[in-house]
């Protein structure tokens, strides 16, 4: 094999010979999805990618875009960072998200709030119901202790290190990796503060749909939940699909559901008044 690739043209032909190969975890370009919701045109499809077990992906999404995540085989954990794409010093604030909504548990109708009093994304649909706004993701030390290795270059990378690479691809740095939310893996809180993780594995094909309420950068890491009790690095692929959609109208039920949420939308609308 090596001898056959001793000249550049042979190496080129070898590389080109891979064209058309299909892997489970890969983006589809241009995007194709046969299961778009009723009323969504394939012309509006923006992104179709399956994120590997232990992998990550990032995407810039315009205001109004919908992002559907599907836990294909029931053991994905979508750890999520969200930035204002225009000015990424504005980012998801997990504390404000739970405090302003007077509730710790994410789900349909809930908002992901920024540190500037605005709604970055909202939950349109949630077929999972098990999410976590408290535990954050694994770091290299916690994965090294659990699996023997936590490095990006190893077999069991941490969510935090996937985030570092993800944010770096948008020009961001270590200090931009902010507290995250975990989707599909949950955490319930007991009266004494104890965290009860909800790890599953769950039924395959659970899905949720988020709506971008601002132009956002999403960074998604798909690594085992930090409190996953299993000794092996257990995680399955995560599918991401995004399509264009209308900007939230004033009578939208998610926008008007609570006075606090309504003011977060009004702050967004004020931001875009230009």
């Amino acid at each position: 094999m090596t001898a056959n690739l001793a000249n550049p043209m042979a190496a080129r032909d070898h590389a080109r010979g891979m064209a058309g190969k299909v892997a489970e975890a890969m983006p589809v370009l241009p995007p194709v999805a046969v299961d778009l919701p009723d009323g969504v045109s394939s012309d509006d499809l923006l992104w179709e990618e399956t994120i590997a077990s232990g992998g990550y992906a990032t995407r810039r999404l315009a205001r109004g875009a919908r992002l559907r995540l599907i836990d294909l085989r029931g053991d994905a954990c979508a750890s999520l960072l969200v930035f204002n794409a225009e000015l990424p010093t504005e980012r998801l604030n997990v504390a404000d998200t739970v405090k302003v909504q007077w509730n710790a548990y994410l789900g349909a109708g809930k908002l992901l709030l920024s540190d500037m009093g605005r709604v970055l994304m909202s939950f349109l649909e949630d077929g999972a119901g098990t999410h976590d706004s408290f535990c954050g993701t694994s770091n290299p030390g916690s994965n090294a202790a659990k699996y023997g290795n936590g490095a990006n270059s190893g077999p069991t990378p941490s969510g935090r290190d996937r985030f570092l690479l993800g944010v770096a691809k948008h020009g961001l740095q270590r200090r931009d990796v902010h507290p995250c939310v975990n989707l599909f893996k949950g955490a319930r809180i007991e009266a004494d503060g104890r965290i009860v993780p909800q790890i599953g594995p769950f039924a395959p094909e659970r899905s949720l749909t988020l709506r971008a309420e601002m132009d956002v950068i999403v960074v998604i890491a798909n690594c085992p939940h930090v409190l996953d009790p299993r000794k092996d690095y257990s995680v399955t692929p995560l599918r991401a699909t995004a399509w264009r959609g209308p900007i939230t109208p004033t009578d939208d039920p998610v926008r008007t559901a609570t006075p606090e949420g309504l003011r977060a939308f009004e702050n967004v609308e004020d931001y875009f008044r230009r």
């Binding site: 010093t89 604030n93 997990v94 504390a95 404000d96 739970v98 405090k99 302003v100 007077w102 509730n103 710790a104 548990y105 709030l113 540190d115 500037m116 009093g117 605005r118 408290f134 535990c135 954050g136 993701t137 770091n139 290299p140 030390g141 916690s142 935090r160 740095q173 270590r174 200090r175 931009d176 990796v177 902010h178 507290p179 995250c180 809180i189 009266a191 004494d192 503060g193 104890r194 965290i195 930090v226 409190l227 606090e260 949420g261 003011r263 977060a264 702050n267």
Partner: protein, 211 residues
């Protein structure tokens, strides 16, 4: 000469002793091995608190790493305050308040508009204090992450309902924090007047460092 009751049980010599006025920021470097005592002088005064590694301030307090590592949301005696690298930054050596909060975050002008209305946007807020203090050392908005609220009470109900409720602190209660590395402590003595975190009346707190 009467003994200073706020120094009771604090070992070592006092190397720093300051009153943080109501509503004000405070920044101080605490060396590994030193103990920082925070005294809630008048009771139910939220002390919003961030930590940075003095050696590398991209390493900072991480509420999520801290609660995940101990499997519990509440910060009690023995809680290790961890960084975004999972490393111990400080340990709660002792506290006369049963537990402290790290999920409620800091008030900001912007979140005040959501929680109370736009008429509160002009009020002073913890994030303003965090920014002002951090800017002195070249840190900025990206460095402000989920913080600790000493002396603040945020229970989570079975349905996920949560809120800042009446405090469980009282005049003279305190928390002692032992530094496990050289740290930069950034505090906002919370100016909030629209919820019970300060009993609707911000008051001074005392910061004592012993070595």
């Amino acid at each position: 000469m009467s003994a200073d009751i706020h120094l009771s049980g604090l070992s070592g010599s006092v190397v720093h002793d300051a009153i943080v006025p109501a509503r004000a920021p405070w920044l101080h470097h605490v060396a590994a091995g030193q103990t920082l005592r925070i005294v809630d002088l008048e009771g139910n005064q939220a002390v919003d608190f961030l930590l940075y590694s003095a050696e590398d301030d991209a390493e900072r307090y991480s509420a999520q790493d801290t609660v995940a590592a101990q499997g519990n949301l509440f910060l009690r005696k023995g809680t290790v305050l961890r960084s975004n690298e999972g490393r111990p930054m400080m340990t709660i050596a002792t506290t006369t308040v049963e537990y402290h909060d790290t999920i409620g975050g800091a008030c900001s002008c912007e979140s005040n508009t959501l929680r109370y209305g736009h008429h509160t946007k002009a009020e002073h807020a913890c994030v303003e204090n965090f920014l002002e203090a951090n800017l002195l050392e070249g840190r900025g908005k990206r460095d402000i992450v989920s913080n600790i609220n000493f002396f603040m009470n945020v229970p989570v109900e079975p349905d996920g309902s949560l809120g800042i409720v009446d405090g469980i602190s009282a005049p003279g209660l305190s928390v002692d924090l032992r530094a496990e590395m050289d740290v930069i402590v950034v505090v906002s003595n919370c100016p909030q007047i629209n919820n019970p975190c300060n009993g609707f009346n911000p008051t001074p707190v005392r910061m004592i460092v012993a070595a």
